[in-house]
Symmetry: C2
Subunit: 440 residues, 2 copies
C-alpha cells in the first residue's frame, strides 16, 4: 500500500474534528474583530517568492516547471499573494483593510517536532493604517486567537519588539540599512546559537569594538519596561538625529500601550528586543507569541511590513500582519487538555423495526434531515439490541423508534440515550417535541 509523503498529514475523522475545532475558533476570533476572509492560490509563480525573499528561498520550496514551462511553487506563505491581491485593486479597496485567511503552506525542509512540510496558518493583516492603533488591533486578534481556546496569560506571552529602533540604534555604530538586515539576522539567532559563534559573526560589522557593542546589544535585549529602555537610550551617546528617531518611536510605543491598557491586554505583553524577526522586510513593531515554559516553538509571529506591497509592484501602502500555525498550537492545546473530545456529529439515531417499518422511518429521516438534524440509521435490518448499541456509539442524544406497533398507530417512541427515558407520541408532534428537546 502507498504511504503519504513525509511531512504531510492525513486527517481521520477524529483528527479532522480537532483541526476543524482550531479553524472554527480562529475564524470566530477573526470575525469578532471584523476581519474579512480572503483566499489565494496554493500554486503560484516561483518569481513571486524570489522577488520577496531572494533566490535562497528556492532551497526550501516545493517548486517545479509545469507542463506549460512555467516555474511554479507551492506557496510557502500567504503574504506575497496577499500583497498582489491588494496591489491589483489598491485603488478601489477602501482602506483600512482588515483581512484574514486560514490556509495551507508548504516548505521542503526536514520534518521535525512542530515543523511539517505542510501546515495550516491563520494569517491576519491590516493595510492602510500607519499608526499604533492598527498594531494594537492586530496584536489583540493574535491574543484572542489563542485565548479563544482557553489559553491564559499564564500560558503564553507576546514578546514585542521594534525593528525601527534596532535600525536606528545600530546606525549609532555606523551600520547602514542594508548591513542592519544582516546584523539583525545574527541577533535573531542569539537565543539559539553559541555566544562565541555570534560574536565572531558580528566582528565583520563592528571590528575591534565588537565585544563592547555585543554587551550593549545584550543589555538592550534584557530590558523589560519602557522606563528602562528610556534610561538605556539616555545613557548612550547617540547623535541627535538617531536619538530623535528613537524618541519618535517611543511615542508610538506609548500609544500602543495605551491601547493595550484599554483593551486589557497588558498581562499578555512583554517588551523583548530579543525578537527581531529574521526576514528583511519587517519595519516597526514586530512580535512573536510563545508558550511560557519555553518547551514549544513560537506559536505565532508578525509585524509591520510597510514597504512590501510597493516592492512587489503595488502602490505605497502600510501593512502589519501575523501568521499563526496549527501544529505547535495543537500540541500545546493537547498538553493543556484544552481540546474537546468530539464523539461524532449525529444527534438522532433512528431505530427501525423491520422492512415494513423502514418506509415510514425513511420518510421521517428525510424530513428531519431537511430540518437540519444529523440523523443516522442502520442500512440493514438488525435486532433492536444491535441498533441501540450503534445508537450509543454514534454519540446521538436521542433514539427514535419506529417499531411495528408505533408505525401501525402513526406514532413514534423517543428514547433519551443519556437518561434512558422513553415516551411515545403521535408522529406529527415529533417536530415540536424535538424542537423543545434540542433547545434545552
Amino acid at each position: 500500500m502507498f504511504e503519504s509523503l513525509p511531512g504531510f498529514r492525513e486527517f481521520y475523522p477524529d483528527q479532522c474534528a480537532v483541526r476543524n475545532h482550531i479553524f472554527k475558533h480562529w475564524k470566530k476570533a477573526a470575525i469578532s474583530h471584523s476581519f474579512s476572509e480572503y483566499d489565494v492560490p496554493i500554486l503560484e509563480p516561483l518569481d513571486l517568492y524570489i522577488e520577496k525573499s531572494g533566490e535562497e528561498i528556492i532551497g526550501q520550496l516545493f517548486n517545479f516547471k509545469d507542463k506549460g514551462g512555467r516555474d511554479v511553487a507551492l506557496r510557502p506563505e500567504l503574504t506575497p499573494s496577499l500583497a498582489r491581491l491588494i496591489a491589483t485593486r489598491a485603488a478601489s479597496l477602501k482602506k483600512p483593510l482588515k483581512w484574514f485567511c486560514i490556509g495551507e503552506n508548504f516548505r521542503y525542509e526536514r520534518p521535525q517536532k512542530g515543523r511539517l512540510r505542510s501546515h495550516y496558518q491563520l494569517n491576519a493583516d491590516i493595510f492602510g493604517e500607519l499608526g499604533a492603533s492598527a498594531d494594537a488591533e492586530l496584536i489583540a486578534l493574535c491574543i484572542r486567537a489563542l485565548t479563544i481556546f482557553g489559553l491564559k496569560a499564564d500560558d503564553f506571552v507576546i514578546r514585542l519588539s521594534d525593528r525601527n529602533i534596532w535600525v536606528d540604534y545600530l546606525a549609532h555604530f555606523g551600520i547602514n540599512d542594508k548591513q542592519s538586515i544582516e546584523v539583525l539576522a545574527v541577533i535573531d539567532k542569539l537565543e539559539r546559537e553559541d555566544r562565541e559563534h555570534s560574536l565572531k559573526k558580528l566582528k565583520t560589522y563592528f571590528g575591534k569594538g565588537t565585544e563592547d557593542v555585543f554587551e550593549k546589544i545584550e543589555t538592550l535585549i534584557s530590558l523589560r519596561t519602557l522606563e528602562d529602555f528610556r534610561s538605556f537610550i539616555l545613557s548612550q551617546s547617540l547623535v541627535d538625529s538617531n536619538r530623535c528617531k528613537i524618541e519618535a518611536r517611543l511615542v508610538e510605543w506609548e500609544k500602543l500601550f495605551d491601547h493595550f491598557n484599554a483593551l486589557q491586554l497588558t498581562p499578555y505583553i512583554q517588551i523583548d528586543f530579543g525578537i527581531v524577526r529574521g526576514l528583511a522586510y519587517y519595519t516597526g513593531f514586530v512580535f512573536e507569541a510563545f508558550e511560557k515554559s519555553g518547551k514549544f516553538r513560537s506559536l505565532a509571529g508578525g509585524g509591520r511590513y510597510d514597504h512590501l506591497v510597493e516592492k512587489l509592484g503595488g502602490p505605497k501602502l502600510s501593512a502589519t500582519g501575523f501568521g499563526m500555525g496549527d501544529v505547535t498550537l495543537t500540541d500545546l492545546l493537547n498538553e493543556k487538555e484544552l481540546l474537546p473530545h468530539i464523539n461524532g456529529t449525529t444527534s438522532i439515531y433512528v431505530i427501525i423495526g423491520g422492512e415494513v417499518e423502514r418506509v415510514k422511518a425513511l420518510t421521517s429521516i428525510s424530513y428531519l434531515r431537511g430540518q437540519g438534524y444529523a440523523v443516522d440509521y442502520s442500512f440493514k435490518n438488525i435486532s433492536y439490541g444491535k441498533q441501540f448499541k450503534l445508537a450509543n456509539q454514534s454519540g446521538a442524544q436521542l433514539a427514535l423508534i419506529y417499531g411495528a406497533k408505533e408505525v401501525s398507530e402513526n406514532k413514534v417512541k423517543i428514547h433519551d440515550l443519556s437518561t434512558g427515558c422513553e415516551s411515545e407520541l403521535p408522529d406529527n408532534e415529533l417536530k415540536f417535541e424535538l424542537k423543545r428537546y434540542f433547545e434545552k
Copy 2:
C-alpha cells in the same frame, strides 16, 4: 506585478464569502446525513494515481520530482488517498463508514467554462455496505447537497444508470470484461460525439453487426422506466446466465426505488443508461447530476467502486461515492439568483467621540468581541458623520456611540442603523440590551 497562474482563482472577500456559503451548506448537508469529515494531503506520490488510472493520467497532472527525488503530484481527485486511509485502518474502522471531505483538486488541462486547473469538490463515500440502501443514502446526500441551496426538481436531475447491467448486456454480444471497459468509454461519449465516429469506433468490437448493436444500445439509452427496461430485456435473446444476472440487478433497482419513494426523492431521479461514467473502476449503480436545460456541465457524478480499495492494496471492501464540484454549481446558483448578497460580517460598529473617549470605547469593544459579537471601529479620530458612513458601509446592524457626554455619565447610545432609532442606557446594561436585540 505578478499574475496568478492560469486556471487558478483568487478570492477577494466578496468571492470568498460565496465560496464559504457553498462549503458551509455542503457541510451542513453532509452532517445532516451523519457523514463524518476527513481530509487527505494535497500532494501525494505519483504512483497512487498511476495505479488507479494508468499512465495516461500523467498527462493531466501537476506532477514533478521533489527535492528528495520522489515522484509526486498535486491530487487530481480524492478517491485514491481516501482508499488508502480506509485500507490502512480497515480492521479497526467500524463499517459501514459514511465519510465526506470538501477539498481542492488539481488538473493540468486547458481552462474553460466550468473547468479550471484548481477546483473544490464535495466528496462523499460509503464503505462496507453492498446493498442498494447505501446507494440510496449516497444519492439522497447528493440531492440534498443541491436542494440545500434552493435548487428544485425543476432545476436538476439525477441521471441514474448501472455499469453491471451494461457489462452483462454487452456480454450477450461476446464482449468480455476488459473489452467492456473500452466499449463503455465509447458509449460514455455518445452524447458529445458524432454518430458515425462512434459507429466506427464500435466496429472493432462488433464487426459487421455494429449498426444493429448500435441501434439496440440507442434503444437501451432511450428507456426511462424500469417496466420499459424489463420489456426490452425480455425482447432480447439473452443466454440464461446473462438474463439471470440482469434480473438480479433489477431486484436491486426495485429496492433502490423503494428507498427513493420513502425518501420522497423520486422526482429528482431519471433512469438513463446513457450515463456510464468513463472510468474503469465503476461497478453497479452510477449517476450524474445535471442542470435540466443542458447548458451546464455535469454538477456531480459518482457510483459504486466495489473493487478499488482492494486494487490499491487494501482489503475487499464495497464502496460507493460521488464528487460535486464548486465551479459549475456556483455558475448555476448565480444564474438562478440563489447566492446570497453578503455585506460584510460586522454586527456592531462603535463610534468614538475622540481620544479621551477611546479608552472607554476600546474596553467595551474588547468585552463585546469576547462575547462573540463582530465589532469594528475607526482607528483614527474622525467626525461623527464619517464614522456613521463607515458604520453603514460595514453592514453592521447597530452603532454604539461613546461621545463625551455618554462617557462622562457612564452611558452608551445605541443607534439602530436600519431604523435610525436611538436610545441611551447605562454602560453596564449594554450586555442585556444587545442580547435582546440580536435574539430578535
